[in-house]
Structure formats: structure tokens, C-alpha cells
Symmetry: C2
């Protein structure tokens, strides 16, 4: 026991530990050592190893203090030497004050609060006041130390139903003096607070606040070890499967201060531009200030570099002479320190191979780095930095790809609000971020109005209780869509995402009538402005300026990197040639889901389908279907042409027939007139089509198997279109998808119709085309019996929207009644309609794929549910071994990136 | 090749083959041999082995005839000797005529039609006519032979769009003479028909009908071998996985005739009474008759035994002297033959160890057995025979149990129609056999009318479009229920089965209004009689007499045999003490599903639950729930008392709240008045509760997790009731079941509420009771993640109704639109709501059980879906290793039997 080294020092470019000693020194301790070793000036200090924590648990406090004593004392001596200050100094020079922090092998957030300013007491506070020339700073630091130490080490806690006793003291002083914030305290106030705090400690802990810095230090060290065994920490370790034996290290580090005169200062800086990604060093600093001063806005921070400073002055309308006099850059004000800082930032970026966000303090002319971390960045900066760093040779493809947050690409693909305009805008409500992007426009309440107003050049926001297929054109004309009801996979949400149009659904506290929108009591009429941020779900009042980002070269380069690192490819869900072309520009390689029913709503088509529904016999239905045939053929021609050379998965009619019939009497009357039938007949039919649970009703292949003539017509339209395209020199690749298969028998019956129809068309046209027949796997039973289905199907496409509905037993139309509560209560981590539930639904996806491939090794497998554009779900699809994912056009780039990440992970 | 034996003879108590030579001789051939060996007189003949079939396929016709020739000729010689007749006889004695049949190892129905009377030609027909003294019989036999041989051997087929040419000939003769049936033909007609038939053969086959019996025989033998390779046979073997190499045998057997004079005859007999099961030999015969004469009703058949004959005469009102003179029994008329027959029937029953249904022919004073098979029987006979045969030592427990058809027990548990009344009743329609039993009564259209009419002693049939919980009392009062809509698991069906009440749902062509019932155009008004057979789904016009069977001692004995041969036990689904007691009498050992929501509809309870739904805050809901607490406690007290000592699984509130609110305005007005709210408020609430897919909506534990106070109230009611019972000396065993669990987190949150409530009650009451907490597995995701759930749950109960809905994606309320078509088209073999889908849903049941048990070996597992009373599903549950199945009270005996079968199989 005696021979073990228990304390590792660091400082002044030297360290006894290093980065790969995490197990012994904890994450933080190893990092502090490493930073010293690469020559970054960090305040000196030492780390007590994790093994001591184990000893502490075995032998207890007294024994461990005895074991540590000489090593800690000599480490403190070293620290004092480097920092040129004395711990518990009673002479005239600034004393060495230290921070004490825990530091386990794995990060355990909130395990123990940091204790700062340790070493303060009634003597040292006076020296600090005197040497810093800032008495307020000295006493403020002292009272903060007492509170922190009291809380963490001495267990001063609030009595039940009461505030924290320290806060009570502060509140009383503020109340008495009518202060608004802590910064209003005078020196005298702070001195009084220090006394009161000491009294609080005496009363609550039953003992005086320790004045001896060494006593303070041992107390803090033991408190860190004690914190390893709090209930919260034990529970956290249990959840995260961290062994109790690992223990925590203790880091003791010198405090440095930037507010000790004009030769001191503090700042933050970035190794590249976090907004644009440009490779330029930048940041802000203040002379004679603490870190919080830079952030609080009380003083105007100054730029780090001359170049940055000049640009800033230009923007602020400040003359060069005034700038140089009053707001000099660090480069100008402290050239030596700047040179050090510039060297350090380069070193850190090279070391961590990413843009660094750093905090530094200059104490008495000497630069100290307090923190460095990978910097947050905008979507555009994320892309540019990654691409440039690959070009610079700083990182490889894999790192560049893995560093992307796929969802941030949205910022590059959709309009966003101007930063300042958004900051000033008034938030009205929050809803579901149903489709990303920003939009501003005048409120309209019907699809027709949206079309008309847009036609005359107005920007409109379509506001509806919920949308239906009849609203399609209005949605297209609008800038954005706001609905009272519906979830992330409601009609409005799905269609809006497909259009790349911003949409918010189920906004809180809003109600929509035919003529007005009420948000939390405030009424908006037709023509009033509102603005939507579909990426966050926020609804704003009035107009908020937007900017439309353009995809630049970096984006293309990133996509190339993704491409060469992917196994899966990306298709799109598209129902029109327009969407197909758009998605192709975004890099989609085919269509994973073309819904044929959307086509039925346009123009006169709805009347043909209604005629079919109303027909009493096969002949009547065939007559009506014959009218649809040429229209569908034309649709398919356009889409197959737009995706020429790539596979196009066309799903046969899926929704229940009642979706095509009107429920209101005026429309029913119109229908009766148009079809030459009695209103009564229409009503009877509509009633007979009614279903209690339409989601689980007469739809999908159940239609095709009860009305085979529908399948026949659709198959004919697809194959005829493909034959014509081939004659015209194109290379069409139709893949006919049978929806809602639950049994292999259903599949086989549909397949026969399709293949027989195709053979007939080939003979008629005198030409053959290649085509596939496959099915959507969206019913749990289909996944369970995938081996049988795959003996016949050529491809599987997982319809994870419906699969999620049935596996969870959640109707996506009704889930709004409990899903938000479930997420709030932690019963669900995510909305399973947004993020694929890998634990449950994922089992069926995995099972369906592996059983399918076992029975048919050539089986092509993809996903066409909304999850196909969600990064974590895409990763799962990659893990399962899918050939492709398919998503709405505007998610294609995100999916491409996620596909590469899935492969590289 | 030469050394192989290819032909095996049988006859006169000797045989070259035996029962265990099925592979070589086929099933039929081996049986014919065996019957000879045990001394049963069957007409002599021989079997050509299945190996010859393989040779036939390899070497062809000519070669095989050559190989067979000498063996077949010597076998025919042996047959001639035994039968004392000559094949192709040209002398004066009756010739040997033979039948030729195929006979594979496994039964292949319809592979080849039998050829009878082979050996007939223009010469032999005359001898037959002369020796039998029956010219019409001779020529009729001849013309039948030509047609059969022409069809089967000579491939005379109908031209497209035409009738079979033989039938054309017969139709022409009948048309010309105005005959109604084939029996009207005169001898001259038949002679003409024979000529015409020969012409047909000549024209269609291009060759003359063969007159040489040996040529006929070789043709027939080869036709049997050819039939092995017809498309139909190949397809059948592929489907049934029968190897092509097995081949078929050919059986050539002497014909015998019962119409050759007063020393001949024919009859059918049974070794026990097929109606009652009594161990008494019985049957009917006719002198000088063919088999069809006994069945056709042209002559009155006579009884076999004296005892039977006397009873018959008594019933028919015929004096003993007339009986003895005109209708003597076989025992009296042919004592020697009777003695032989009696010995044979005993031998056969002893040999096959089951009641035999036998056909025999007496030719010229000699008894020949033509067929024996296990006899069909009524449910009562099935039970009695099995029990008695066990007692006689004829069969063991296992055989007795395996021989039961569980569904036939229904006949013993429910009223059935009188056989003759049913035969004469007019069928109006066919629907789903939703709940078994027979009922007759006057039509009423509302639950109130049902109650009122029944109260004044009328028997009524409640006719509704569909039923809802509000109809409960009316359903209880009615004899039977008929609904226009709904499937096997509709409300009406489930409740009716629970009540043991006959019910037919979704009857074809019926429509129900408030005042009338229309069945295929015929209108029935209130008070008109109809009758229902819920076991078959048949609706009859008018009154049909019913009989109510009583459970006798044999039934109890059978249940005892089942009991001692079962691993699984049987619980019941019951919501009332009455049902619980009833089921206990049927042998239920506990309750597998007690639905608490049914209790909410009775009396004033509905108002408390409605008050809760309308409450705007927690306090309001708690106030309303407080009113329900004592009522629920009382319910639970009664049920736990009725099932004292057995586990009672109580499911917490399951249905969506909108099931408790009215949709029509008058009821909403009543509700508004009663709750002191505006109609508008009620309407708004009802609208807000509306769900697009209520099946997948806000229900089950989703209610309990959003309104924990409901769970708390119910848990309190259960535990309080149990505590009181224990104080009163009972042994209550409540098992609290959380419905609709999809994630372990949902389970845990509910479990905490239940356990905390229980602990509180224990302290309040100063007594503790044992209780379990578990969950229903009815959501696919629950089955998939059963390992996680079972770490917490103490029991699983598979809710296979909902599990089937979600695994198939079928709404049981809407499935009527396509399920009947699916079953008709063969897309589904069974209604998966009746018969558990082992291939798909079964995977989830198996997975849920094995994953659950792996995580928690003490996990109790059962099933409470409707499938728990369906025999094949019960067997599956046994295979999966469940502890129990639970079903409605009237299915309990069936489930007990099926459980034993599951264990023994």
C-alpha cells in the first residue's frame, strides 16, 4: 500500500500523468495532464487517483488522509512554486486559492459540485482585497466559497418546505435594500453576508466554518470521495452500468483571476468562425474582468484580432482612431499574450482536430487556459469546417462524416429566420415541428384562398384544423402550414415534408374556425401576419424576416464524401415528376415510395374513382377504372421518366375507399347529381363504407384482393407507361409494391394479377420491360412470416409508419391525447413516429429482413416510412443491412449523410 | 425384378398381406388383408403392390402387364374359387364381376373413381339377368359399368360447353318418355342405353368398348397407375408433401349382390347406438335389395335385432303379429346370418376399439362385409361411449380423451333443436355462429322491450343492428340474439358466449331498423317468431322446437378423465358472481379475466363515471371516483367470494372513455341536466373524446398512466374487498392485471400505484392479503419486449383478441367487409378471431412466453382471449407451456377437454 503513487502533479508544461491514464486519473485529470504536456498553459495543480477512492471506501477517512498527507503536501508545494503564490498565505502577496473537483473515468454529470476559491478565510480575504485592489471581488468570492463549501462539504440543507438558508440570507438583504440582483450588493453588505453565512453554517452543521485552508482542503477531498456513494450517484451508475469499483479521482487546481488590474483580463475565443466555418481565429476579451463580465453585456467586449476588431468597428460605425484608442484588439493591447494565445489555439485545434471554443484568463500578464472544447457551430459552418479540414489533411473522411449532425443540414435546405429578427419576435405558441424551415405570411383558412391569394403575389400561411388531400394545392401555394390537430405523421406533416414546406401541427392553445385563428385568447383574422419556425415548432406574431440559404460547393463536397463512405443508398418518397426531379438533384437514387392514391384527388379523377366506388357490379367498376387508366399511365410515365435509370417503387392503392367519398351533405348532393344517383344512394354507400377503425380496415391489398380489377388497372397503367418509355429510348425500372400484406396468400393472389397483366401488355405492345414485384412490410404479421413472403416477393420495403402504429397499438391520428404526456412523464424517450423504436418495432424490422434474406438471398430491402429520413433510424437500417432508405426529397441529403455515418460507425 | 412378389391375394379368412404392410399394399389393400386375417368375411380379391406402380412409371404399360400377367391370373383363379364364380363366365352360373380401386399409402381423396361391375359384356349381362332373375338390375349394372369405364379408362369427356355425352343419352331418353328419374327406365330403355353408350365410346374414344373381361381388367389396372400421374394428383401430393415414389396399389375385389333373391339382402349396422351411445347392437336391412334401397326410403327397412324391431314397431304403432309377419328382424329372418353378423360386429369393435358403422351384403345366404368405419355420433353418444369403453377396459384414458371432438360438447351444454323440427324448418339466412345453442322466440328490437316482454313470460329474440353495453339486460332477458353487423368477437358475440346465450351475427341479407327486420326481402315485425341455431349460424322462420340437454354422470366422468390427464388448468372469463359460480360448476379453477368496465354500465354507476370524465381537474375526478369506490369494492367482494381459494385476475379499466358518453342528443341533454352542465359542454367533451381509430387510442393503461387516480381507486377497491374477505374467513387471491402494456415503463408506473395503494390499505385495515400484479400481453410490442416486462410482472395473460387485431392489422369491428371474402377465396383458412393464428400471432405468443419465462422463471402465463375456449388454440397454448387457459363459462368443459388433449398429443 505504501509504495503506490497516489498523487499526480501537473503545471508549467510538465505533468506526471498523461491522456491515456484516464482509468487512474479520471477523464478530467488525464486531460489536465495532457494539456500541460502539449504545452498549453493551464493553472497548476494535482490529481488524487481513483484508486484512493477505493481505499477511502475500504479504510475510511482518517486512514486515507494519513496515507495521502505527505504526497498532497508536496504536490501543493509544487503548485505554489509554479503559481508563485502560497496556499493559506498570511503575508502580503496574493494567496494561492484552489478549486476542488471530482473526476471519474466516465462522465457522471452533477455527481459533485465544484468548490471554488478554497483557501479563503478571514485573513486571506483581506490580502486578496488588498492585492487585487478590489474589496468587493474579495468578499464576494469569500461568501460564494462559504455557500458552496457549506452546501457540498458541510451538508447545509434547506428544512422541508423552506428555501436554502443561504438564499434566505441573500433574499433578506436584497429585500431590505430593494436590490434587484446580487450585483447590487455593496462591500458592507457582503461583509455582513459573510458573517450571516458563517452563522448559518454554525446553526445547520453544528460546527464553525473551518478557517484553516488545509482543513478546508481535506474536507473538500473527502467530500468528493463521499459523493461517489450518494444515492443519486449509485443509481446513475446502475443505470449506466458503471462499476462501483472504478471510483473517482479528485482534482485540486490553482485559481487564476482576470480582475487583478490592467495587466489582467479574460476572454473566449474560437479557432474558426462558428457562424460561417471560415478558418479564421476570432474571439472577445475584456481587460481587468471576470469571465462573467464578457458574457453579461455590462461592458462591451473587445475583439481578439486586429482584423476582427476592424470589422467590428466598421459594423458598429466606430472610427479607426476611436477603436484603436478605446477598443484595441488583444493583438494590439497585449501582443505577447496574443502571440501565446494564437499559438495555443493552433496547438489545441491540431491536437483535438476540431474547431475549439476556449476560455482564457490573463492574470498579471500571464496567459492561462481555463477550458477548451469542441465549439458549437451553425449547419453551414459544420459543413464548411469538415470539408476544409479534410482538404487540409487535418481529419479523414470518417471523422468529417461522423462529426456532422444530420439534422443540422436542415438549416442549409430550408429558409431560416434572420437571427436578430427572430430574437426580437414575440412567441405565440409552441407546436410539433412537423416540417422544418421558416415562413412568414398572411393567415388564410381555406386551400382556395391560399391559392387565390398566392396567385396575386401574397405570401400566405394556411391555417387549418387539420388538412386533407383536398387541401393539397392550397398547401403548395402557401409559405407554411399551421394545424390545430395532428401529429408528426399527420397528413399535413407528411405532405409538407414532402413539399419541403414548413409546417407546425398541434400547436398548444390554438383553435381554428372557418374565419379565425385564436392563439391563447388572441384572435387572428384572415390577412393578419404570423410566422412559423417549423424546425422548432414555434409560432411567432407578425412578420419575421427570413433568409434563404443556398447550397454551396462545400455541401456538394460533403455529399461526395458521404457517398464514397456509404453502403446504403438513398431513395425518395415522391408522387410527382416535380418532386422526383427535386429529390434527384438532392442525390436521390430512385423512388422508394410513390403513392398512387394522391393522384386520385386531382381534377376529374376523383369522379372516376367515385364512380367506381358507387358501381354495383364488376362491369360498372371496370367501366369507371377504364377512365382512370390513361390518367394513371400518364402519371407513371412522368415519374418513371423523371427517375430514368433508377428504380421507382409504385405502391398500389392503399387507403380505404371512404377517403374518396364526401361526408358533408352539399358534397354528397354534388356527387349524386354528377353520378346521376339519388342522394339516398350516396348516403347509404357512404354509411356502408364507414369503419370503426379505418386504420385496421378494408384497405391496402385487402382492396386489391376483393376488387382485383383495381390492381389490374394499376398494373396495366404502370407496365404500359414503362413500355412506352422504353420505346422512346428511356430505361424505366418500375417496382410494383403491394401494400398491407399480412399473409403470403394475399401476396400471391396480387402477384398473379400483376404478372398476368404485365405479360398481356408485353404481348400487346410487342416490347418487354424489366420490373419487380414486392411488398411493403407494415403489418406485424408480415414481418413475422417474412420467410414465407420472401419466397415470392422480390423486394421488401418497411412501412415503419404503419408498423409502428400496429406494433405499439397507437393510432397516429389519436396519439396526441397521450403521447405528449408519455414523453413528459418519461414513459417514452421519443415519439416513435419520429424516431424508430429500435427496441420493439426494430425487432420486427430486423426479423423481417433476416428471415426474408434467409429465404431469398437476392431480396432487395429498404424502408419508406417517415423514419427513412431520421438519422438514428437510418443508422439502424444500416445495421440491419438494408440496401436503401427512402425519405421525402428535403430529407435526402440528411439521409445520405446518416447512411454514411451508419456505415462508418 | 423377376423374383419380386407383385400380387397379394385375400379371401376366406386368409390373406398374403396384413395391416402393417401399408407401404407395399396401400391403406386399403392392407386393411382388406387384415380383415380377412381377423376372420371377417369380405369378398375375395387381390392387391397389386405400390412397387408395381413405380415399375409402371419406369418401364411402361406393356412391360408391366407382361410382368404381372401370371401372378394376376393365378390370383384371379383363387378369387374365383373362393367366390365360386367364374370371371368372364360364359356358362349358366352367375359370373365373377369385380371392382377395381386405387389405394395409396396415404389417403388421396378423389384420385381415381372406383370401377364397379367389371367383367360385364353382352354375354355376361344375359347370364346375370337370368341367374338373378332381375333383367333390369343386369342391364342397369351394365350401362353403369360402361359409363364408369368410359369415363375413367377410355377418357370419354364432354366437349367444351357441353354435358357429358353419357348424360346426354340418359337425358334424351328421360325427356322422350317424360321420366323424372333414372329408376323409371324400363328394361328396354336400358338395353337401348347400353347400345347408345357403346356408340358414345366408339365416337369419343375412337375404338369399340372392350368386351373381353381380361382386356377390361388390364385397362382398369393401367388406368389406376396412370391416375397416379394426373395433374390433380401431382398437385395434391405436392401440397401434402407425399413423395412421387410412393406409388399406388391396385385392389381388385369380387362384387357381391344383395338383390339376387329372398336369400339375399343388404343393410347397415352399428356396434353401439350412435344417438345415445348405449352399448347395444343395432341397424337396418332389407331382403333382396341393393344398398341404395336401404337409404332411399322406397321400402321400409327392417331392424337387425329382435329388441330393436319390437321397439320400432311400438313407436310405429304396429302390432307384434304384423311386425313378426311383415317386418321381422334379421335375427328372426336369417338367424344364422344374424349370428355371423353379430360375431363380426363384436370382432370389429374389439379390433378397432371404437363404435363401428358397417355395411354388409348377404348374397345367396352368405354374409359379406363391404365396409366398416368408426361411426359418427352425437355429442352425448361421444361422451357416453368413451366413458363406458374406458370402464370396459376397451380403451385407455388417452384414447377416450383424444377421441372427443371438443366442439361437440356444445351439444351437451346448450339447447338444441329437435331433429325433426329442424329438418322441417325453413332456412331464412346464414350468419356467423357467434354463440352456440338453439333459440326460438318473438322478435323484439330494443333491450327494454326484451326485458319487458320476458318479464311477462314471453320468449324473445333480441334483434339489433349491433349491440352495445347498454343492451346487456335485454340480452340477458332474451333467448337469443341476432345482429346485422359484427364478427365473432363483436360485443354481441362475446357477451352472448359469456352468458351461454345463442347468438348469430352478420347474417347475410338481413337489415334491421328500429321497427322491423328484413331478411332477403321478407319483413318481420315485432312479435313475429324466428328461430336461431347459434352453433351453425342458421336463422329459421317461425317456431322450431328445442330440447334442453342435461349433463349426466358420464359428462362428469369424462371431465375427471380429462382432469387427470391435463397439465394446464382452465379458468373462466367472468364479470359477475353469477357467472363465476356457473363456471366453477363447469370446473373452472379461477377467473382469467374479470372486466371491470362492464360493471360501470349498471344503474347509477354510469353517472359517476360520466362525472369523472367531465371533471376538469384532478380533484373533480377524485370526487367522482370516490363514488365508484364502494360500488366496485362490492363487485370485487362478490366475485372473489364466488371464486374463493382460486386466483381471480381483475383487469383495470380498459375501454376508451368515449364508450361511457352518449352520442345522441337526447341522451346528451339528459347527461347535461344530470351533471348540471350545459349541453354545449357535453357536446364539446364528447367531440374531444372522439377518436379516428379508438382501437388504437387512449385506452388501457394509457388511461391509468394519464389519470393515475383511476388505477388508484380500482386497486383500492380490489385490495379492500380482499382484506374484508380475509377478515370474514375467506381466502381471496386477487391478481391485478394492467391492460394494454406496450413498454415496461408503462407497466412500472402502474405497478407502483397499485403496490403503494395496497400497502396503504393494509395499514388502514390492519391485515395483509397476498396479491399478484401482472399484465395482459395484447400489444405486439409487449410480446417483443416480454423479457423486460417480466422482470417486473408476476403474470402474463395473453389477450389474443387484441393481439390478433394488431398483428394482422384487422379491426374486428370492420373485418366483416373482407374477412368472409378472404375465407371464401382461401386467403385465410379460418377466422383468426376464432382460431388462433399459430403461424403469425402464435409466434408472438411463443416469443412472449419464452422471453418472459427466461427473465422470470416463476412467471405465471395464461390466455384470456376468446381463443382460450377453442380446441386447436388451447392445444397450441399447451404446446407453448402455459399454466392455464381462460374462456367463457360455457366453454370451460370444452377447454378442459382440449387441455387434456393438448397434453396427450
Amino acid at each position: 500500500m505504501e509504495s503506490t503513487k497516489r498523487v499526480y502533479t501537473f503545471g508549467d508544461g510538465k505533468a506526471e500523468g498523461k491522456a491515456d491514464m484516464k482509468n487512474l486519473l479520471g477523464g478530467k485529470g488525464a486531460n489536465l495532464a495532457e494539456m500541460n504536456l502539449i504545452g498549453v498553459p493551464v493553472p497548476a495543480g494535482f490529481t488524487i487517483t481513483t484508486e484512493v477512492c477505493t481505499e477511502y471506501n475500504l479504510y475510511g477517512k482518517d486512514e486515507v488522509v494519513k496515507l495521502l498527507k505527505s504526497e498532497v503536501e508536496s504536490a501543493m508545494l509544487k503548485t505554489e512554486e509554479i503559481m508563485k503564490a502560497k496556499f493559506g498565505s498570511k503575508n502580503e502577496s496574493f494567496p494561492l486559492l484552489v478549486s476542488v473537483r471530482s473526476g471519474a473515468r466516465a462522465s457522471m454529470p452533477g455527481m459533485m459540485n465544484t468548490i471554488l476559491n478554497l483557501g479563503m478565510n478571514d485573513d486571506t480575504v483581506k490580502i486578496v482585497a488588498k492585492t487585487s485592489g478590489n474589496e468587493k471581488f474579495a468578499y464576494d468570492s469569500y461568501r460564494r466559497f462559504i455557500q458552496m463549501y457549506g452546501d457540498v462539504v458541510m451538508n447545509v440543507v434547506a428544512a422541508e418546505g423552506e428555501h436554502c438558508p443561504f438564499e434566505q440570507v441573500l433574499d433578506a438583504v436584497k429585500h431590505k435594500n430593494n436590490y434587484k440582483s446580487d450585483t447590487d450588493f455593496t462591500v458592507e453588505d457582503l461583509k455582513g453576508i459573510v458573517d450571516s453565512f458563517k452563522a448559518v453554517v454554525r446553526k445547520n452543521a453544528g460546527t464553525d466554518f473551518p478557517t484553516d485552508p488545509w482543513e478546508q482542503l481535506w474536507g473538500a477531498i473527502c467530500a468528493v470521495f463521499d459523493s461517489w456513494n450518494t444515492e443519486r450517484a449509485i443509481l446513475y451508475r446502475k443505470m449506466e452500468k458503471i462499476p462501483n469499483e472504478w471510483g473517482t479521482a479528485v482534482n485540486v487546481q490553482a485559481m487564476v483571476y482576470g480582475n487583478m488590474g490592467d495587466n489582467s483580463g479574460t476572454g473566449v475565443c474560437f479557432s474558426r468562425d462558428a457562424a460561417t466555418g471560415e478558418n479564421i481565429f476570432n474571439g472577445e476579451y475584456l481587460i481587468n474582468a471576470q469571465g462573467e463580465d464578457v458574457v453579461s453585456g455590462v461592458r462591451t467586449p473587445q475583439e481578439i484580432t486586429v482584423e476582427g476588431s476592424k470589422k467590428w468597428a466598421e459594423r458598429a460605425g466606430i472610427s479607426e482612431s476611436e477603436r484603436a484608442a478605446n477598443f484595441p484588439s488583444l493583438e494590439e493591447a497585449m501582443p505577447k499574450v496574443y502571440a501565446d494565445l494564437n499559438a495555443v489555439q493552433q496547438k489545441l485545434e491540431n491536437h483535438y482536430k476540431d474547431m475549439q471554443d476556449m476560455e482564457f484568463t490573463i492574470q498579471d500578464g500571464k496567459l492561462w487556459m481555463l477550458q477548451t472544447r469542441n465549439g458549437k457551430r451553425t449547419g453551414a459552418a459544420m459543413v464548411r469546417m469538415a470539408v476544409e479540414m479534410v482538404e487540409e489533411g487535418l481529419i479523414n473522411d470518417k471523422t468529417a462524416i461522423m462529426r456532422q449532425e444530420p439534422n443540422k443540414l436542415d438549416e442549409l435546405l430550408h429558409p431560416i429566420f434572420e437571427k436578430s429578427a427572430k430574437a426580437n419576435a414575440k412567441v405565440l405558441s409552441k407546436g410539433l415541428p412537423a416540417s422544418p424551415g421558416a415562413a412568414t405570411g398572411k393567415v388564410v383558412f381555406t386551400a382556395n384562398d391560399a391559392e387565390e391569394w398566392a396567385a396575386r403575389g401574397e405570401k400566405v400561411i394556411l391555417v387549418r384544423r387539420e388538412t386533407s388531400p383536398e387541401d393539397l394545392k392550397g398547401m403548395y401555394a402557401a409559405e407554411g402550414i399551421l394545424t390545430e390537430r395532428g401529429g408528426m405523421t399527420s397528413h399535413a406533416a407528411v405532405v409538407a415534408r414532402g413539399m419541403g414546406k414548413c409546417c407546425i401541427s398541434s400547436a398548444a392553445g390554438i383553435s381554428v374556425s372557418h374565419t379565425s385563428l385564436t392563439i391563447k385568447g388572441k384572435v387572428f383574422n384572415q390577412g393578419d401576419y404570423i410566422s412559423l419556425d417549423g424546425s422548432t415548432g414555434t409560432v411567432y406574431e407578425g412578420q419575421v424576416a427570413t433568409i434563404t440559404p443556398s447550397l454551396d460547393g462545400d455541401f456538394g463536397k460533403l455529399m461526395e464524401i458521404a457517398e464514397r463512405n456509404s453502403k446504403m443508398y438513398v431513395r425518395t418518397n415522391a408522387d410527382t415528376p416535380h418532386d422526383a426531379k427535386l429529390a434527384r438533384e438532392f442525390g436521390a437514387k430512385g423512388i422508394g415510395l410513390c403513392r398512387t392514391e394522391h393522384m386520385f384527388f386531382e381534377g376529374d379523377r376523383i369522379w372516376a374513382i367515385r364512380e367506381m366506388i358507387l358501381a354495383n357490379d364488376l362491369e360498372g367498376r371496370k367501366k369507371a377504372l377504364a377512365k382512370l387508366l390513361p390518367i394513371q399511365r400518364e402519371d407513371f410515365y412522368g415519374i418513371l421518366e423523371a427517375m430514368d435509370g433508377f428504380g421507382v417503387t409504385i405502391r398500389l392503392l392503399d387507403p380505404p375507399l371512404h377517403e374518396f367519398t364526401p361526408n358533408d351533405e352539399p358534397s354528397q348532393k354534388e356527387m349524386a347529381q354528377k353520378l346521376g344517383l339519388s342522394l339516398e344512394a350516396i348516403k347509404t354507400k357512404v354509411e356502408s363504407l364507414h369503419e370503426v377503425n379505418p386504420m385496421l380496415g378494408h384497405r391496402g391489398c385487402r382492396l386489391g384482393n376483393t376488387y382485383p380489377e383495381i390492381t389490374e388497372m394499376q398494373a396495366r397503367a404502370i407496365i404500359e407507361a414503362a413500355c412506352e418509355l422504353k420505346k422512346n429510348g428511356f430505361n424505366p425500372k418500375p417496382e410494383i409494391m403491394i401494400p398491407l400484406i399480412g399473409t403470403v396468400e394475399e401476396y400471391k393472389m396480387q402477384e398473379i394479377i400483376i404478372r398476368e397483366t404485365a405479360e398481356t401488355v408485353f404481348i400487346e405492345k410487342g416490347i418487354k420491360v424489366d420490373y419487380l414485384v414486392g411488398t411493403m412490410i407494415e403489418i406485424p404479421r408480415a414481418a413475422l412470416t417474412a420467410d414465407r413472403i420472401a419466397q415470392h416477393a422480390e423486394f421488401f420495403s418497411f412501412g415503419t409508419n404503419d408498423l409502428t402504429q400496429m406494433t405499439f397499438g397507437y393510432s397516429r391520428d389519436d396519439v396526441g391525447k397521450f403521447l405528449p404526456i408519455y414523453i413528459e412523464k418519461g414513459l417514452l424517450k421519443n415519439d416513435p413516429f419520429q424516431v424508430l423504436d429500435q427496441e420493439g418495432v426494430g425487432q420486427l424490422v430486423e426479423m423481417g429482413t433476416s428471415k426474408g434474406r434467409a429465404a431469398n438471398p437476392k431480396l432487395k430491402v429498404g424502408i419508406c416510412g417517415e423514419h427513412g429520413g431520421e438519422p438514428s433510424s437510418v443508422e439502424f437500417c444500416g445495421k440491419v443491412g438494408m440496401d436503401y432508405v427512402s425519405c421525402s426529397p428535403f430529407r435526402v441529403p440528411i439521409a445520405r449523410l446518416a447512411a454514411a455515418q451508419a456505415n462508418l460507425r
